[in-house]
């Protein structure tokens, strides 16, 4: 048996196995649960990198479940695929890499951060299940299977958001909100799946994409899918759950939630580009996505400026940064039917939007971890009560500066690279959009200067005399993300050319996506 053919399933199977082993191990040794989780996720990370190298050099990979050979998509001469399969192209593995890094760093950070909590076996079990769900959403090539993984990720995240205790009230409220939001979106996705299955009798993404007619029913399905997936991604008219869920969850979980939201964003792009592509009215749908983006950017940042709770402030910034991704990819979609404009600036805009997904996961993860570090040592999330922490938490201060500079789009960091791509290309589509994006970036900087000033600067406060630097494993987790941010900021060309451009092209070129499964390339 050649194991290298089975990497796609191993990436999911190892954390899944560990998720059910962790409660058993926890009966014997409490400490071993965290270590087992970290080990399982590090294996996943290594396998994801191996798979990424394979996909970027050889081409998209297919893994068919229950077939005699994992690459046998059409058994016995069938005309369309009938089995569940994973279909991983450059875009899927791009998201997979984000999930792998974020979950691994989150597990390391949790080792000390969650130490004083009880029920850690359940915590790690849910963390692994959340990772499995997010990986599955990104790898699957089957729309019903996507619904299943969406549910796994949602249920695990609901439990994790309210993990700090239902007695406290606020975590329970945040968990309930997220539960309602995710059950509605999962049900609407199921409804859309029903519409596709009723019309075409296929559940495979590529299979549906090859026969889709953009009939009235397909329009209804698109109208169901875009809002609910945008809701799960936290776009503005449906963003009411983000500040609660992001601020009440423990810091490493918040970081994972950002990755889970981005998996929904990925699904939205997958539906629009790989399922419908030019069969839909690209200009209209593109503008709808651009408007989601504009609203998210502007309302997100203006709500963030007035917040006093550091994690709530960062949560609103997460909404605002999601807007950039919508803007970049929306512009790419709006000019999809126009090859000249697409080559001139559409592809660059999409590269900016997609690159921003990865950058956002890294710097927002880092910022949430620094907020978690402050909470870990001071016991408060209120900015008015903090002050002078730069004296005692030197590493955390440096990491915060790196994260804040990256989110505000200052040059040597990764946020600048993707934002510049978006500004330049969106300006050629519509100058006003680009100007709004720049204003939002300045407001972002303003609000992080406020956080820096009130949390870190000033004299040493008497009530924080005992505060010292966070333990080594937490510093290590933050350092990993900081290194990635600086590396991406220094060599953006390398990443855009090797990782982002193939991802964008695999979204735009629908025939390649369907051809991987159906042949005929």
């Amino acid at each position: 048996m050649n194991l290298s053919n089975h990497i796609p399933i191993l990436i999911i199977a190892i954390p899944l196995l560990a998720a059910f082993l962790v409660p058993l191990i926890g009966r014997i040794n409490k400490k071993a649960t965290g270590i087992l989780t970290t080990l399982a996720l590090s294996v996943s990370l290594v396998l994801t990198i191996v798979l990424a190298v394979k996909i970027l050099s050889v081409g998209p990979q297919v893994y068919v479940f229950g077939a005699t050979s994992p690459s046998l998509t059409l058994p016995s001469g069938l005309k369309f695929p009938i089995r569940i399969m994973f279909q991983i192209d450059a875009m899927g593995i791009f998201m997979g890499l984000i999930t792998a890094v974020v979950s691994f760093v989150g597990a390391i950070y949790s080792l000390v951060f969650m130490k004083q909590h009880s029920g850690l076996d359940k915590y790690y079990s849910l963390l692994l299940l959340l990772t499995v769900g997010v990986f599955g959403m990104e790898f699957t090539g089957d729309i019903f299977n996507f619904f299943v993984f969406l549910e796994i990720a949602s249920i695990a995240s609901v439990a994790l958001i309210s993990f700090r205790g239902i007695d406290l009230g606020e975590p329970a409220e945040a968990g309930f909100k997220y539960m309602v939001v995710s059950s509605i979106s999962a049900l609407m996705v199921l409804f859309a799946v029903g519409i596709f299955y009723g019309q075409y009798d296929i559940l495979n993404f590529a299979g549906i994409a090859s026969v889709i007619k953009y009939s009235q029913l397909d329009k209804i399905a698109l109208g169901l899918l875009i809002p609910v997936l945008a809701m799960k991604a936290g776009a503005v008219p449906m963003h009411m759950w983000t500040p609660d869920a992001y601020s009440e969850a423990p810091a490493p979980i918040t970081m994972m939630l950002v990755a889970a939201s981005q998996a929904s964003l990925y699904a939205l792009f997958r539906v629009v580009f790989s399922l419908y592509n030019i069969s839909l009215n690209a200009l209209t749908v593109g503008w709808i996505i651009i408007i989601f983006g504009l609203l998210s950017m502007f309302i997100g940042v203006t709500m963030a400026i007035i917040q006093k709770d550091i994690k709530r402030l960062m949560a609103y910034h997460a909404v605002s940064q999601t807007g950039y991704m919508f803007l970049g990819v929306g512009v790419g979609l709006a000019v999809l039917a126009n090859p000249i404009a697409l080559n001139q600036y559409g592809i660059t805009a999409m590269e900016g939007g997609i690159f921003h997904i990865m950058n956002h996961a890294m710097y927002k993860g880092l910022l949430f971890l620094t907020a978690g570090a402050l909470f870990f040592r001071t016991g408060t999330k209120n900015l008015d009560k903090m002050g002078g922490l730069a004296h005692s938490m030197k590493y955390t201060t440096i990491f915060f500066i790196i994260g804040a500079a990256a989110i505000a789009g200052l040059p040597p960091f990764n946020g600048f690279a993707s934002k510049l791509l978006i500004y330049e290309s969106v300006y050629r589509f519509n100058p006003l959009l680009s100007i709004i994006a720049m204003v939002v970036s300045i407001l972002t900087l303003a609000s992080f200067v406020k956080v820096f000033h009130s949390a870190f600067l000033g004299p040493k406060l008497p009530q924080f005399k005992e505060v010292k630097e966070v333990p080594r494993s937490m510093v290590f987790a933050m350092a990993v993300l900081s290194c990635i941010i600086i590396f991406f900021g220094l060599f953006p060309d390398l990443i855009v050319k090797n990782l982002v451009h193939p991802a964008v092209m695999s979204l735009i070129e629908q025939f390649k996506y369907t051809g991987t499964v159906l042949g005929g390339m």
Binding site: G66, P75, S76, G77, L78, K79, I82, R83, F176, V180, S183, I184, L187, M188, L190, F191, G194, Y197, G198, D201
Partner: protein, 99 residues
Amino acid sequence: MIGNLPYVAVVIFIGLGIYTLMFKKNLIKIAIGVVLIENGVNLFLITLGYKKRSNCPDLYPGTLRAGNGLANSSSTDSYQYSYRYRNYCPDIVGCHDDL
């Protein structure tokens, strides 16, 4: 026309569910709203299972009419069976229009 009634019920279920979610403050009622949408979607999936006046798909030309010529692979067999069930095809020879 009367065959479309379940779809009308689906729309009513989901509409009521969304109304409940948007305008009720009571948490129990919100949970009931989610359940209403869930019922609507499930009813939709079940209703789709029956297609009137439809024919069996002929995945392997010639094999269906022979009566015994199912494909060798067991997984494709089960797929054909489920496919026929979806199209309400109780007989291996052909479909009944009147059911």
